[in-house]
Symmetry: C2
Subunit: 481 residues, 2 copies
């Protein structure tokens, strides 16, 4: 067993040695994903897709609780529609896939595979909206989008990914702004409560905002390697699209008005975040509330009388409590192999039961987050495990927060910034003048971008440490995925 | 109120007058769907999408109960992959959309937007399969597919539609055949138990089978206009694709073997079936188990004291029982308008509550399927409604079965067949020689196709009434959507 374990662990490159390789090893060896015959397109395997299903279930419930309904808009968008909003087409046209033929016929107009659906949705909203009484429209869709990428990495950046896109229109700017921030908070709540990922929320700089947005808000998470991941964005689109698409309505005073719009999205990229925030050198560490298998039961010496029967009893007790439980009684693999396998797959809780345990009316319970193992009485085991899953969630969140805080630095001069970015990358909190040229120079010289202007502002100093001008905001900077 | 009602009903063309127009009126006026700017592509609006969500929920549960897992394969398929199975490419190439450019670059190889995913999935299964111990693979995906259609109708035939596609491989032919029939039974169970649609199940003729299949099985439903709808298909693909894609494994004897494959799918087309099986001249009649709103509460004289409070109490009682309930207390619409609106939208149960009802400790309960209305005590109303929803389901299923049986004819000569097809179209049960030429002549002359060779065979006569040759099977024929 000892040997077995070592061999297993050695298959995953330690993250300190080569973080990108660690990531690749983990996603491949845990069967989350595979490379497809189409360059830049991934296949999401059942274990990876089950994570997406849990994210969908959680988010979809939150969307519905905040009054949104799902619908479905076409995959293909006529080129003329994409072209209607100037900034939008400039942002997206370079990375769309174009359909030119339907069957054997050349199309009169090219259609792009949706990179995002603002334009086609706006064309429909223009048909549907008449009066202020119709507002707001609060719609969402779950689908895949295509953005042609030169360099890709599964979950983090792929030419096709799965996501949801919410699209709303409102009577007033204030309501649109309220919606934009509400959905950012919904994302934050899901990141924290489901995924155990602490996030920094704030506004994007103009340079980093969505193509066509009035303002973009984001939640940013920090990975083990000190790089940031943009984990979800919510845009106040103002009237940019509603005017371009002539979406209008008769207002309360009888005048024709243009509504204010929002859009917001999260994607399968979140799975990459979960891996890189929680994972360790043994593989995945899955947040208990979204783990496809929350507890695995491993019978020991299962040929001995009563072991499988007792395992089944426990299995049913857990299942009845709504815990996603599996029993691995396969005889072709050793117990040691199983321990490693489920550890690598990030299963939060392992329950071992053998003849000696049964004699003592106990089982051994191992938790994935701390790797601790303890004897627990069989009586009321289900309730114990349910509570343990919550404890693991809390511990994983605190651990991730601690990791993030340890890699978050307050910076007041550019030399320190450059040194830190090189030696111990992470979130850099610094003042910023607000100028785009300054922002671009930082990126050019260090690879770091402004991740956001956080809602929680601190005053570090009066001047921008990068250019010496008067400071406007405190910002988070980092290199990012 | 009377006038209001009449006006409303008049907006929907009676189905006896013009069935296609009735269908179009219903889907538009009940806000299920809209036409998009891309010809042949539909927008599924929230009320329509909610129906799809219920179908997904029900089917997905059944798939998982039968051991299947979800995953996701790329949207785009290289042309060379599509070309690998000869019959398959001949069947699908004429109707696929081709992507020729990614961003500003022309692609070295054209990619087709998936019309179905056998080919890309086979290319992955070839990588994943090693030993008989790995089998079976039991995977499914929920996605959209594109098939370029010349003439389209929302839900029934559109250039893009939403569906699920199950793809499995097995060690033996027998296991694949068992799976093929199991999933057909899963579809049948969902059609009957969720959608209240009776179906005929059987095998497709060679002419009608899936491009590349060894054998195709189908469930067929009969619409109000006497036309059939293919509502779900399950294919035994034999080794056609596994050999073409070189999917092989080391068998129990050490020899290299090719697995046997199945695929099976249902789509948003089912929503068209639900409309055309259950709908009437007032609009939709939704099967209670999948109705987005199962019961609507309409307060009468809601400005009177206690009405809204009592409505809310009932609302909460129903909600706590898991009933999808809405209360419409909007004051801009009249009560009469609301009655019509929810009738048109097919809401199974309407609960009216006003001051006079409260005095008598009762409410008025109207059911959509029979349009009957009765006084029901407020006490234990929730349980009454829960039972009523089941009764409505049963009644709708029986009604649909009666309708189908009345339109099912046993035919033993071609003249009768032609006369019936003209005067009262429906399912025609007849013997058939099994020859493709005969089948094609029937289609040419009458527009009818062989819907299936049903599992439940009857012997009507010894000869094929169409050509006089010796009969092989009893078949169902009909014109179809």
């Amino acid at each position: 067993m000892e040997t077995n374990e070592k061999q297993f662990v050695q298959e995953i490159t330690p993250m300190e040695v080569d973080f990108p390789q660690w990531y690749t090893d983990v996603i491949k060896k845990t069967d989350l994903v595979d490379y497809s015959p189409v360059k830049g397109f991934m296949v999401i395997k059942p274990y990876g897709y089950a994570l997406w299903e849990e994210i969908q279930r959680d988010m979809d419930r939150r969307f519905k609780e905040t009054g949104h309904k799902n619908c479905y808009f076409p995959l293909l968008i006529p080129e003329s529609l994409l072209n209607k909003e100037k900034e939008h087409v400039e942002g997206f046209a370079p990375e769309v896939a174009w359909v030119t033929h339907g069957g054997s016929e050349r199309l009169a107009e090219r259609l792009c595979v949706r990179p995002t659906s603002e334009t086609i949705i706006c064309s429909m909203y223009a048909k549907w909206l008449n009066s202020y009484r119709d507002l707001p429209f609060l719609y969402n869709q779950w689908c895949s989008v295509v953005r042609w990428e030169k360099s890709t990495r599964p979950f983090l950046r792929t030419s096709e990914f799965l996501w949801q896109e919410g699209h709303t229109i409102h009577e007033t700017y204030e309501e649109a702004q309220e919606e934009t921030l509400r959905m950012l908070q919904v994302y934050k709540a899901s990141a924290e409560e489901l995924m155990a990922i602490p996030v920094v929320v704030g506004q994007k700089s103009d340079r980093e905002k969505f193509a066509g947005a009035h303002a973009t808000y984001t939640m940013e998470a920090l990975m083990h390697d000190g790089k940031a991941l943009q984990a979800g964005t919510s845009h106040n689109l103002g009237q940019h699209f509603t005017k371009a698409f002539d979406i209008n309505f008769q207002g309360r005073t009888g005048e024709i008005e243009f509504p204010y719009q929002t859009s917001w999205g999260v994607s399968t990229r979140l799975i990459g975040g979960i891996i890189m925030v929680h994972g360790d050198n043994r593989g995945l560490v899955l947040p208990p509330r979204m783990a496809p298998i929350q507890a695995v039961i491993i019978p020991i010496a299962q040929n001995k009388g009563g072991v499988l029967e007792e395992a089944e009893k426990i299995h049913n007790e857990l299942k009845n409590l709504g815990i996603r439980v599996e029993t691995d009684a396969d005889t072709t693999n050793t117990v040691g192999w199983k321990f490693n396998e489920y550890e690598m797959k990030g299963v939060p809780v392992r329950i071992e039961i053998g003849p000696r345990d049964i004699k003592k009316s106990q089982v051994m319970v191992a938790r994935r987050d701390t790797l601790e193992k303890e004897a627990v009485p069989i009586e009321n085991l289900g309730l114990h495990i349910a509570k343990l899953l919550d404890d693991i969630h809390d511990n994983m969140f605190e651990k991730a927060k601690k990791m993030r805080d340890e890699k978050t630095y307050t910076i007041d001069n550019y030399d320190d910034f450059k040194k830190k970015m090189k030696e111990s990358p992470g979130f850099m909190k610094a003042m910023w003048c607000g100028d785009r040229e300054c922002e671009e120079a930082i990126k050019e010289e260090t690879g770091a971008t402004i991740r956001c202007i956080p809602f929680e502002q601190e005053k570090i100093s009066d001047v921008c440490p990068f250019c010496g001008k008067k400071a406007k905001h405190m910002v988070y900077l980092a290199r990012a995925y």
